[in-house]
Symmetry: C2
Subunit: 439 residues, 2 copies
């Protein structure tokens, strides 16, 4: 790193060292024991355990879990008109994008008399977790409740940690506006445990969605593995990778890097470019913008692990990006449409100089719940599909038995599964006997 | 249970006791330690560790992992023409069904100047596990390699345990016919570890598919949680639930119950009906058919935990089935089309008297990799989607900044994320300045 650059610049025009895009290998915290203890207590003591742990972990003494309908209804009194309008517009865009994801499924006659198809069924009851902390992440409510509602989930519940004043009204307003059925003031491990096990007040759900700290992440993992509860996806720190060339606006790029860096000191920030001079310009913009930032300290810590990597050309940049598989990918380069075709591994992609990541975080309409930590190699972000099962159906006629009967019998016999064979054989014989009788 | 019935009959026409459809709560075997040890050895010693564990666990001394192209090519010499024809027909049906799952994705202008869309990208490298044991499950190769190939995965690898004679030719033939790129003779924990960690010979994959015993299941879990490798879905014993009324053929129903029971002594077999006399008829068919079954012992053990439950009507049956969420659901009742509309939780559904489960296990075209253990409440079976990511894209024009800029700024500020707000603000100001210059 040279002369006080905010972003360390590496020139790798000759060879790429893949270590440059390795994510830090965090030591795995041993949280299982705490999570298991909390889950066991919830199974035994139900709501009482939730109150106990809310006092212990959150230092909040409470004896009410469910936020009343009245409190939810009145939440809009505490929001500015600007914020209400913003939430309503964002919700509308998100709804449009996710409504467009309803897939029309058509049947296929795979062989004569063998009709196969799929039908969409929404998951009946889902749970949304919205973390507390310094800021109320009401945007998460929009990103999870809107596709859940669009999918047709029958019951959508939401858990969020209480603070002394109760639950933040922006979260309640977002919940009300998106059709969340019930809101519970409980957070952390105990919230996930309540949704995985069920208590007197909080119903057990089939799938849990939402971000959280390392305790919440571990609790979701245990819910998935030991409590038969599905989860949205594995979690990790948020990430952005930007590919920029001389057509970019360095101030915009710096602003986008910072909007990722302010998330947390473990945020991953990578800039790939084809031009070392540009790295210097972006670095000087970074310094300028960083000074005025309220979350300057956090952003500076994140930038310590961030890097700018200079490659020979944009093709090399996109190859390295695919290797890294970023959660967010910004293409601030010419012919970004062509470059986008080469994207193989990414969560969400932002094209051109005006598509900032924060647009997608809030209001473009795409979902902001995306795969981090390289999971984009195998996972998609949350979508309507995350709230739906596609059940397969098949209807086989007598003609269908004639079409595939022998195939099934031969394969079952070769796998030494004679009862499988018999189930087909008994039908084929029945049909043959009937025909004989008729003739 | 009365008079030597193979299937215990419970009459619950007055009240349903949900305990009747509870799955046994198996004690969780402590296998983590073994799995972690094997994975650590693979990370350290690579291929050598695979040979060591193949000798230790499978009692096979081997120093070759990859099956040669020649061996794969020559596999068809060892198969009867009937079996080859059966595999080819089944593959064709499965291919038709999964090709029909390619989703056409269209862009949406969520707000003026804000264009959002999704694009399909196949997972680049996937791994298929095919268990060994008494019978070669070549049908699993078809069910996993065909959608992988249809999705466009660049590399499909397959691991299966060796026996003294090598790898079963039916598995090799199925692999060759479906476009599997490489086959490795390694099984159990060490196969999953190899695909999760990568070795000199076996490449690390992004997602692992396939069934297996409790060791394989635990290894897939550890791969998912600790080695950033996705897996198809959590596993449990296979299940069938049959809903039957007087229009069913008792011999067919008995054959279907047995085809599930022969899988293993932990197979789940449930029959729901609206008529106690019918239960008796099916029970007598069961006794008759069971006698001739090669896997009679296994099937009898499974039937010990199986049950027939008599309800008041088919509506009650379907409600109870939705509660149970079976992997396979057979509707052997009149108006099965109407009944099917009420199915909410199930993996795959078989309609009418001629749609036996074994048709779907092998050759109807639907996928036989399905959610067990109640996971059908939240998971779909394997489909083309299991091999694809849907990446979101957004392109925002200057007009788009005008549409959603304020919304993004207001929401980011309310979440105390000022850098997120700035990323939008800097663009809005740039556009305003440009306009001023022009005017």
């Amino acid at each position: 790193m040279a002369n006080g650059n905010k972003l360390a610049v590496f020139n790798f025009q000759t060879a790429i060292d893949k270590r440059l895009i390795q994510r830090p290998n965090k030591p795995k915290a041993k949280l299982e024991e705490t999570v298991r203890e909390v889950f066991a207590a919830i199974e035994q003591k139900g709501d009482k355990a939730l109150f106990d742990y809310t006092l212990k972990f959150d230092k909040i003494s409470s004896n009410i879990l469910e936020i009343s309908k009245k409190t939810i209804d009145e939440s809009d009194r505490y929001l500015s008109q600007d914020l209400k309008d913003a939430i309503v517009q964002a919700a509308s865009n998100i709804r449009k994008f996710h409504e467009n994801q309803v897939e029309k499924l058509s049947p296929v006659e795979t062989a004569k008399g063998v009709l196969c198809w799929r039908e969409n069924r929404a998951i009946e009851r889902v749970g949304i977790y919205v973390p507390g902390g310094s800021a109320p992440l009401f945007s998460t409510v929009l990103m999870l409740a809107i596709p859940a509602k669009t999918a047709g989930c029958k019951e959508i519940i939401l858990c969020t940690p209480p603070n002394i004043a109760g639950v933040n009204p922006a979260i309640l307003f977002a919940a009300k506006h998106t059709g969340v059925d019930r809101v519970f003031a409980v957070g952390g491990i105990q919230a996930i445990g309540a949704m995985a096990c069920g208590t007197e007040t909080i119903p057990k759900v089939s799938k849990i969605f939402g971000p959280g700290n390392q305790y919440v992440t571990k609790a979701k993992q245990i819910a998935q593995i030991e409590y038969n509860t599905a989860i949205d996806m594995p979690a990790g720190p948020s990430e952005v990778l930007i590919i920029a060339d001389e057509t970019c606006n360095p101030a915009f790029v710096a602003a986008d890097l910072l909007s990722q860096a302010e998330h947390g000191d473990d945020s991953q920030v990578i800039l790939l470019l084809d031009n070392e001079l540009l790295a210097a310009k972006i670095n000087s913009e970074l310094s300028r913008q960083l000074e005025k930032l309220p979350r300057q300290k956090i952003a500076e810590l994140a930038l310590e692990n961030a890097r700018a990597i200079v490659m020979n050309n944009i093709d090399e940049c996109i190859a390295l990006s695919n290797e890294y598989a970023p959660e967010h990918l910004i293409l601030a380069c010419k012919n970004y449409g062509k470059v986008a075709e080469k994207v193989v591994n990414a969560g969400s992609v932002f094209l051109g100089n005006f598509s900032c990541e924060s647009a997608g975080d809030y209001a473009s309409g795409t979902n902001h719940t995306l795969p981090t930590n390289g999971y984009a190699r195998a996972y998609s972000g949350v979508s309507l599909d995350s709230f739906i099962r596609k059940i397969t159906f098949q209807e086989i006629s007598e003609e269908g038995i004639a079409s595939i009967g022998k195939t099934v019998e031969v394969m079952a016999a070769a796998e030494s599964l004679d009862a499988h064979k018999n189930a087909m054989k008994i039908r084929a014989e029945f049909i043959a006997n009937n025909k004989n009788k008729q003739s």
